[in-house]
């Protein structure tokens, strides 16, 4: 099932903001359908990596290849068209629109009937609108949001809003979805549901998932591979059990024991 050639390949990526090197020489790849996690202490550069992949920032060095083709520095909407979707750390739903419309808006990039059709409203237009409506409805139903179809998305509870963001991202039919701290603000039960949801998304839609998350239970629980970042540098990579016992990772998170640092007396 896994392809020898990676779906997403980051090679030697460096991001510099003025004097600050947010990310240095980062190497990482994700295979088709893989569920990977990106962790690290606060400020390690995780969201910066996300923003590089999705085109919000441009890397100062290195390259980003998606399905073998370079995407670094391209405009975000073009990258989404290539097949990379994302959710945001602070929920960014379309506040004035209903739950349904939030998902419907994400179908825009696949539209075959554009402006002139919207005005003329011929048969092709109507057929496509009906198809989109049913697809969007199906997606919402799968994620148990169907009953909230027509309410303003801001009236949803926090957990539902996070789910809606994921549904919206899935509407773009991505091959890779980036989830930015999806468990933030959730209680343990919600987090368990989230873990099942992510695994479900990966299997049902056959897409790769890259997760940035702070909650270790979530990350260790579902990620097939984990990469650890500290001060913009990759300090470890491997499966959950390897990462749990990796000294460099422990040091990064917990700091150095003072007696250790002082050296043997």
């Amino acid at each position: 099932m896994s392809d020898p050639e990676p779906l997403l390949d980051l090679r030697d990526v460096t991001v510099q903001f003025g004097g600050l090197k947010a990310v240095s020489g980062f190497n990482f790849s994700i295979r088709h359908g893989e569920l990977a996690g990106l962790i690290g202490p606060n400020g390690a550069g995780k969201t910066t990596i996300f923003n590089i992949i999705t085109g919000v920032y441009r890397p100062t060095g290195g390259s980003v290849l998606f399905e073998g083709k370079a995407v670094a520095g391209k405009k975000p909407y073009l990258i989404t068209k290539r097949g990379i979707a994302r959710t945001f750390q602070n929920i960014r739903l379309f506040a004035s629109m209903s739950v349904f419309d939030n998902v419907r808006a994400a179908f825009n990039m696949h539209l075959r009937h554009g402006i002139s059709h919207a005005l003329w409203r011929g048969k092709g237009f109507r057929a496509e609108e009906t198809r989109i409506a049913s697809e969007a409805g199906e997606l919402l139903d799968i994620f148990h949001l169907g009953k909230h179809r027509d309410v303003p998305c801001t009236t949803l509870c926090y957990g539902d809003q996070r789910r809606l963001e994921i549904v919206r991202a899935l509407a773009t039919r991505p091959k890779l979805i980036l989830l930015d701290e999806p468990a933030a603000g959730m209680n343990p039960t919600e987090k368990t549901e989230l873990m099942e949801l992510i695994r479900f998304v990966q299997e049902k839609f056959q897409i790769a998932v890259l997760l940035v998350e702070h909650d270790m239970r979530v990350v260790m629980g579902i990620c097939q591979r984990i990469v650890v970042l500290d001060y913009g540098i990759k300090i470890a990579e491997g499966c959950a059990s390897e990462i749990k016992t990796n000294q460099a990772v422990i040091r990064a998170y917990l700091g150095v024991d003072e007696t250790e640092a002082a050296g043997p007396t």
Partner: protein
């Protein structure tokens, strides 16, 4: 060459006026991230304040020009404008502190329109003559300066330059050496953190408005000394142009506003002076500022001295 120098001097004097007004825009933007559309009209009110106060002051100098009288008028106008600026902020902008910026921008437009039209209603639409506060003769440059003696420099131009320099230095002193100034700078970077440090944001913002408006008032008096015709709509063009100057220098950046103002004044004056040779009608003079605005926003939107502000995603 002399012609060029003459135009340069004229441009500097115009630029100083723009700079004074631009400072108000930039300070308010730095502290509140909002363009105070009504600022140009405060400049106009300053001129009119001078118009009404001048006769009262000149009674003491037997109706003639006097330097102490001019000084009193200047300070009085600055004070009136400062109060006006603070009142406007309190009534129209403060209630909207948390609303989207566009809402406040529209309100500012409303305030601007109100000031202009109320001015027309109260002061009359026609231009009025501003009394001579000083003896504005041309300064005679001795022939020993050679070619330079052909330059025509008026007292008003020297005055404008001197007052502007003084106010700039005074402003710099406030911003860098006083606690209020430091609070202003802190507010422009992070309002929440600043208030958590025990600063009363409202007071600092009022102070900023007052300061910027006072400078605009000074500009109103200075320009009226040089060009003694005042009318309620006189703030429109200079207001917009001063805004362009602020953007040119980097909006939110105080030295930038001064630099932008001077640059704009010089470019505009040189344009008019050499427009024949460029085969462009000098009637396009007012478009020069907008043209510059578009260029700077296209190529360096943060302005000449400005910093890039990234939105956190």
């Amino acid at each position: 060459m002399i012609y060029f120098l003459q135009q340069l001097i004229n441009g500097l004097s115009l630029g100083a006026i723009y700079a004074l007004i631009a400072l108000g825009y930039t300070m308010v933007y730095g502290v509140l991230r909002f363009i105070n559309f009504a600022h140009g009209d405060v400049f106009m009110i300053g001129a009119f304040a001078g118009l009404y106060i001048a006769p009262l002051v000149m009674k003491y100098s037997n109706g003639g020009p006097s330097w102490p009288g001019a000084f009193v008028v200047l300070v009085a106008a600055m004070a009136i404008c400062a109060i006006l600026g603070i009142v406007i902020e309190k009534l129209a902008y403060r209630p909207l502190r948390n609303r989207p910026r566009l809402t406040v921008l529209i309100t500012a437009i409303g305030v601007s329109l109100f000031l202009e039209n109320f001015g027309q209603y109260a002061f009359g639409v026609d231009p009025q003559y501003f009394p001579s506060l000083i003896n504005n003769h041309s300064i005679a440059i001795p022939a020993s300066f050679g070619l330079l003696s052909h330059l025509r420099i008026k007292v008003s131009q020297v005055l404008i330059f001197a007052v502007t320099m003084f106010l700039l230095l005074f402003l710099r002193f406030i911003v860098t050496k006083t606690k209020l100034g430091m609070a202003m700078r802190a507010l422009s970077v992070n309002p929440v953190a600043t208030s958590l440090m025990g600063v009363n944001n409202d007071v600092v913002i009022s102070f900023t408005f007052g300061l910027g408006s006072a400078l605009a008032g000074a500009a109103g008096i200075l320009i009226s000394i040089q060009q003694p015709s005042v009318d309620p709509l006189m703030g429109l063009q200079p207001g917009i142009k001063a805004f362009v100057a602020a953007v040119l220098g980097g909006i939110g950046n105080i030295p930038g506003a001064a630099l932008g103002g001077v640059l704009l004044g010089v470019i505009e004056t040189l344009f008019v002076a050499y427009s024949d040779q460029l085969h462009i009608s000098s009637g396009y003079r007012d478009a020069v500022a907008f043209f510059l605005l578009i260029i700077i926003l296209l190529f360096k939107p943060t302005g000449l001295l400005g910093r890039v502000e990234r939105e956190k995603v």
